[in-house]
């Protein structure tokens, strides 16, 4: 925390500067491969925001990143670095699929709550093991959660190949969920309201993501548990002094964080793919880290950052399509630059900006 910086600069100016730098660097890369960076940016923006189709895809990706971003942000508040979002999301997918396969002859209003509970339970259970190890044995969650990502991935392969695969089918995936487990798409819901929207994977889970962001805000800043989490995250000795049990906080926060990461499967598995496939997480757990960093661990910041990353995903796909010289890998480079500048190099601009602000009142005084 720097007393030198006004709140608006901390929340808006610094992320904006970081983003501008990231795009500047990305633009240079585009110039290097002999393409026009201005055109690339316009394709990227048009491809992500230029039509209801583009917006639908952007928000679909953003929904996923809200869940994984919130998961990381909650853990940050307790001073924990949960980078196991990927593995927890995989377990969430398994939970969602099991609930859907079991109940898909009923109605989505039955399936959705069951899927939420299943995802949360599976994700929380997966995060609980590193959490308990950290709380009682002092093992580092960064190490344990990343190892659990690999275990989760292997578990998913095993289940899809040996247990959940449709007998006789070649591909390692579950059967398609029946009609009763299909969530309403955003275009159908808006259609009922008389608003036209192109067909996109965006579904009701986007609203759940907003609710999750709101719930996280309430949890962190309004509840007693949130108060204890923040106290512990800022100062463990002070938390112990206040009678807050570090073991309890670490475990509870990891449970919530794991459950939150797992809920991304509602959007992807239940809302869109309607079956469980390999690699459905597509690195969303890791994008969540960048989203939480860029959103400064604030739920609303996380939502904004998630939308930005949704734009990069969707706009990037369009870019690869329209400008073939800019390959899929280039898109990953651009995304990586954004993560690098907003996450890892965040302090690079902070120093100069702080000095700038520190100098202003001094000048006013003379």
């Amino acid at each position: 925390m720097s007393p030198a910086l006004p709140r608006w600069a901390d929340l808006a100016l610094i992320p904006a500067l970081n983003l501008a730098l990231a795009f500047l660097a990305a633009g240079l890369v585009v110039v290097f491969i002999g393409e026009d960076p201005v055109q690339a940016v316009s394709v990227l923006i048009r491809g992500s925001l230029g039509s209801s189709y583009a917006i639908g895809f952007t928000l679909f990706y953003a929904t996923t990143f809200v869940f994984t971003g919130l998961a990381v942000a909650i853990a940050f508040h307790a001073g924990l670095f949960n980078i196991g979002g990927e593995g927890q999301a995989i377990l969430g997918g398994i939970g969602v699929a099991l609930a859907a396969l079991w109940l898909d002859t009923t109605h989505w209003l039955v399936v959705l709550p069951a899927a939420i509970v299943a995802a949360a339970l599976f994700g929380a259970a997966w995060a609980a093991i590193p959490g308990i190890l950290a709380a009682t044995r002092g093992s580092h969650v960064v190490i344990t959660t990343i190892m659990f990502n690999f275990i989760a991935s292997a578990l998913l392969v095993y289940l899809l190949v040996n247990v959940l695969r449709v007998p006789g089918a070649m591909s390692p995936e579950t059967r398609r969920f029946a009609e009763g487990a299909h969530l309403p798409f955003m275009h159908t819901m808006l259609g009922h309201l008389g608003i036209g929207m192109a067909r996109t994977p965006m579904n009701i889970a986007s609203l759940l993501a907003l609710l999750a962001a709101l719930g996280t805000w309430v949890l962190i800043w309004r509840t007693r548990l949130g108060y204890e989490i923040r106290a512990f995250g800022h100062s463990e000795p002070a938390a112990v002094y206040a009678g807050i049990s570090p073991v309890r906080i670490i475990v509870v926060v990891m449970l919530i964080s794991g459950a939150m990461a797992a809920c991304m499967a509602l959007n992807v598995v239940l809302g869109y793919q309607q079956r469980l496939v390999l690699e459905f997480t597509a690195g969303a757990g890791f994008v969540g880290i960048a989203v939480a960093l860029m959103g400064r661990s604030h739920p609303f910041g996380v939502v904004l950052a998630a939308i930005l990353f949704g734009m990069l995903y969707q706009g990037g796909a369009e870019l690869a399509f329209e400008m073939p010289a800019i390959s899929r890998d280039m898109i990953v480079v651009i995304q990586a630059l954004v993560i690098l500048f907003t996450g890892a190099l965040e302090r690079m601009v902070r120093g100069p900006v702080e000095r700038l602000f520190a100098r202003r009142p001094a000048r006013a005084a003379t």
Binding site: M1, P3, V218, R222, T223, R224, L225, Y227, E228, R230, A231, H234, S235, P237, A238, A239, V240, Y241, A242, G243, S245, V247
Partner: protein
């Protein structure tokens, strides 16, 4: 090395006018010091007197704001520890700087390798270690893994490291803090031997007994200043104690005689081990009555902090018992703080920055820290009633005159005195039966000190029990009705406040009981 250029009568070290500030705190102020070659020179002072800062300047960890350093009569700037080593200075830190999973040999060579390849360096070091072991009687197995060695042997490795780097001047920072008495005796034999071989040794300690036992000369520091340098043979523990503590202007606190009531807290044979297994409390017993202030005096690090933390329920005890109103308190875990508060035992911790407050929180958030689970703060469901908290925080600000009077200000932006008032407002406002207070006025301005003392006395006059731990002897004398002095994890004496004086307390703080000696 440095000794080669040394004039025969030049001091090994001469410091002239060394000053060093950290922000507003003057850690060292205009310090002059001469250390003669071939002597053991002690530096004593209470914690925070500036001993470690001074030695860190000498070893190049800090740069002095002003002043100069002469080694062997030659002006020697010491910008970093490499320069200190080149000037022939070696340091044995209080907390060893050893790589635990390396062997003794590897640790000795570390940072002093001759080239990119290790083997020649190690071979040279092995020969050198054999020589050092012969010359200075510092036998240690060169191939033993350091983590397997006892603390005494690890310290020996630290000394060997310094000698391997051709140190002529050895600085030891509180070297006996981690040693058993037998290991300490052995260390002293080594130090005497090193001195007889012509090395110069600086021993930093707050234990007067060690100063008397081993040093040739002794310098006393107090509050960042060098107050005296004496021949050890011509001084005495009482004189040193007095110099350390100082003839302070006695604080006057308006208070009537105490009216001790029932025993509220009974502490019996309390023992505490720290995480290294070192015994920090070695059987402490006392009674705490309502309507009295019991002052715990002592040089910092003699077990007072541990006592306070065990009573407050944030540190487990390893033995003994504590009864509150006749009921035994749980002493087994670090998480008893909430239960203690529920019983009416409040705690103003010694370290308000790390423990007493969450610095990035706003004032109102800290105004309920530890009491945040109370029903009066509860809102609907699991939420907290922000309005109620803020209103009570505002009341606390008015009652305790906290400035600036803003519940929304971030806690780290308050001054030290006002931060302490935030803690006190929170703990006293509940009208606890027992108040445990550690260093209530450390880093607090004079105005706030008076206010805090008045509040503590007012609580006593309401019949409550107060346990006051302070390293400020004048604070203890001004406030306490009864004084217990701690030394080395034990109570070295208990006195009624009116029947003792600084001299006697100073001796007790050094572990010497004048009453026993007279008998």
């Amino acid at each position: 090395m440095a000794s080669a250029a040394q004039a025969p009568d030049a001091p090994a070290i001469e410091l002239r006018g060394i000053s060093k500030s950290f922000g507003p705190v003057k850690a060292n102020e205009d310090i002059d010091l001469r250390v003669e070659p071939g002597t053991i020179h002690g530096i004593v002072g209470e914690n925070g007197a500036g001993k470690s800062t001074l030695m860190s300047i000498l070893y190049g960890f800090y740069q002095a704001d002003a002043g100069e350093i002469l080694i062997g009569g030659k002006l020697t700037p010491i910008p970093d520890s490499d320069a200190a080593i080149r000037a022939g200075i070696g340091m044995v830190h209080q907390h060893f700087m050893l790589v635990e999973n390396f062997t003794v040999l590897e640790n000795v060579v570390l940072g002093a390798e001759d080239g990119a390849l290790l083997r020649p360096s190690l071979a040279k070091a092995r020969a050198e270690l054999t020589r050092l072991a012969r010359d200075y009687e510092l036998q240690v197995d060169a191939d033993a893994v350091v983590g397997d060695l006892s603390v005494g042997f690890q310290q020996r490795v630290e000394i060997l490291k310094a000698l391997y780097r051709h140190a002529d001047i050895l600085i030891l920072d509180e070297p006996t803090g981690v040693l058993t008495p037998a290991e300490a005796d052995h260390l002293f034999r080594i130090l005497r031997f090193l001195r007889d071989q012509g090395k110069t040794i600086i021993l930093i300690t707050h234990k007067l007994r060690e100063i008397m036992a081993i040093t040739d000369r002794v310098s006393v520091m107090r509050r960042g200043r060098m107050v005296a340098t004496l021949d050890t043979a011509r001084t005495s523990p009482p004189e040193l104690a007095e110099l350390m503590v100082g003839r302070r202007v006695l604080l006057r606190v308006d208070k009537g005689p105490a009216k001790p009531g029932d025993v509220l807290m009974q502490v019996r044979d309390l023992k505490v081990n720290d995480w290294q297994g070192v015994e920090r409390l070695r059987g402490v017993s006392f009674d705490l009555r309502g309507g009295e202030i019991l002052g715990i005096a002592g040089v910092a690090g003699n077990g007072q902090s541990e006592l306070l933390e065990v009573l407050a329920g944030i540190r487990p005890a390893s033995g003994g018992s504590v009864r509150f109103r006749g009921e035994a308190l749980a002493l087994d875990s670090v998480a008893n703080a909430e239960a203690r508060r529920a019983l009416g035992i409040a705690h103003v911790p010694e370290d308000r920055h790390r423990r007493g407050l969450v610095m990035p929180f706003s004032e109102w958030e800290n105004s309920c820290l530890g009491y945040h689970g109370e029903p009066r703060y509860a809102g609907p469901a699991w939420t907290m009633d922000r309005r109620a908290i803020r209103e009570l925080a505002q009341a606390g600000i008015e009652k305790f005159d906290i400035r600036p009077p803003s519940v929304d200000l971030t806690t780290s932006n308050f001054s030290g005195g006002n931060q302490q008032k935030i803690v006190l407002a929170r703990e006293i406002e509940r009208d606890p039966d027992v108040l445990l207070v550690g260093q209530p006025t450390r880093g607090v301005d004079i105005g706030a000190i008076e206010f805090i003392h008045r509040e503590i006395v007012a609580l006593r006059d309401r019949g409550k029990a107060i346990l006051l731990v302070s390293v400020e002897l004048d604070e203890i004398q001004a406030l306490a009705d009864r004084i217990v002095v701690m030394f080395d994890g034990r109570i070295s004496g208990a006195r009624a406040a009116g029947e003792t004086d600084e001299r006697e307390l100073g001796l007790l703080m050094a572990g010497i009981d004048p009453a026993e000696r007279a008998a």
